[in-house]
Amino acid sequence: MNLPLIFLVLFAILLVGLLAWALRPPAQQIRPALDVFEALRQSRHASRMSQIFQALQPQDTEFLGRAGQASLMQTIRRERRTIALNYLRQLQEEFAMLLEISRVLAVMSPEVIAMEEMERWKLSLAFAANCAFLRWKLRLGIQPFSGFTLLSNMATSFARRLEAATTRIAEATVQSAQSSGHPNENPGSF
């Protein structure tokens, strides 16, 4: 048996595995009556990243070590790492929520943009990998780092951009509902 044929058989076996996976119910059930605009307006954990970074800085707790309170310093650092881990979990939830919104929209849209769907798929893989990596780093102990201001600025500017975008979208939805002759009392509620 030659190599291309082996690949073919392996592909067939892989399909059995994928079939079993695809038939399993998803871990997260769909949220009934997901309000897209409400979900988009929810507070963003990303905007609090600078505070989390600040709390993880060793300089924040170094003075305790110098004052002879090494055990207290370790305890605080451990607690702050736990907070950072929780924060990371919240980020993941935020990411999952955005994916959920995109799915709900795609299901209801008469046209789905393939490139955007593909982009989301790639992003979700990259994000999951980054999160897993970061979680392990946090568990093993964070090293000093800098540049939090940059991240904080990014988050703030994005928050402003998103705010403007959601307003634009809401306006467009109301307009399209009016032009189609089916006024919707709650345009954001799909």
């Binding site: 994928l18 990303a46 929209l105 795609a106 299901v107 849209s109 964070i142 959601t166």
Partner: protein
């Protein structure tokens, strides 16, 4: 398709009996109206079983002619199975117009790639081209079913019990055909009875899955049309959602890079 030993005859009879049971279930529960192409496939399988059994028992016919007729009917059955698969995909996804538009293109791409790869294995020899073509078609059908189910899972599109059962049965049979043709047939070349029997066994398993689902089927399983939103609204929110996802991911990346720089 040689003179089957006794065990294979029993398996053959069992297969025909199960095909008949499923056919009657489809008629009784009016499933044939919802899945007319699958129903046609089922009818063709049943007719094929009866016709081929009759042909093999006719004494005066040329064995080669019988073999050719048998394979011709097999080609027709495979064609109907492919149509039944298209029908199943349509039933699951077509109500979601946007998703269906995207899925159709992906299905065609997946099917074309799989068939092309399989035909590449023939290396231009026409006798292998036909047999490998059938194998390629079977593998493409399995790949399309799996892609459809992954699509349905990702977008949380409801797939009812009957649709699942039809997908599982079609997919497992196709995969088994590919493995049987590529692997078992070569390993068990000396024992054609064994791989013929295994082929029948795979089909019996599919039939049992379908019969089980048909027994439990109720008309209430069919879902209604979903609400729709204007495509431009989807386009706008979709790109904003992507921007937000990119930002979240970029922040994590920055986090990692800054941390590495600090170390």
């Amino acid at each position: 398709m040689v003179e089957p030993p006794q065990l294979q005859t029993v398996a053959w009879a069992l297969t025909t009996a199960l095909e008949l049971v499923l056919f009657l279930q489809f008629v009784r529960r009016k499933i044939g109206r919802i899945y007319p192409l699958f129903f046609a496939y089922l009818a063709s399988v049943l007719l094929q079983s009866v016709a081929v059994a009759g042909l093999y028992r006719t004494q005066n016919l040329d064995k080669m002619a019988v073999w050719k007729i048998a394979w011709l009917t097999q080609g027709f059955v495979v064609f109907l199975r492919a149509l039944a698969l298209v029908e199943l995909n349509r039933r699951v996804l077509a109500r979601y117009i946007g998703i269906w538009g995207l899925a159709r293109r992906i299905f065609l791409g997946v099917a074309a790639a799989v068939i092309a790869y399989d035909l590449f294995l023939s290396k231009g020899q026409w006798q292998w081209l036909i047999l490998n073509g059938i194998r390629g078609l079977e593998l493409a059908m399995a790949a399309v079913i799996v892609t459809m189910l992954i699509f349905a899972r990702y977008y949380r599109v409801p797939v009812n019990q009957l649709q699942r059962a039809l997908a599982i049965g079609l997919c497992l049979y196709s995969i088994f055909y590919v493995v049987n043709y590529s692997l078992l047939e070569k390993i068990l070349r000396e024992y054609p009875f064994v791989w013929n029997f295994l082929g029948l066994f795979a089909f019996i398993a599919s039939l049992l899955v379908w019969i089980g689902a048909a027994n439990r089927y109720t008309a209430a399983e069919e879902v209604e049309m979903p609400q729709t939103i204007p495509a431009e609204v989807y386009g706008m929110i979709s790109s904003e959602v992507n921007a937000r996802l990119i930002l979240l991911n970029r922040q994590l990346m920055q986090f990692l890079h800054l941390e590495n720089r600090g170390q």
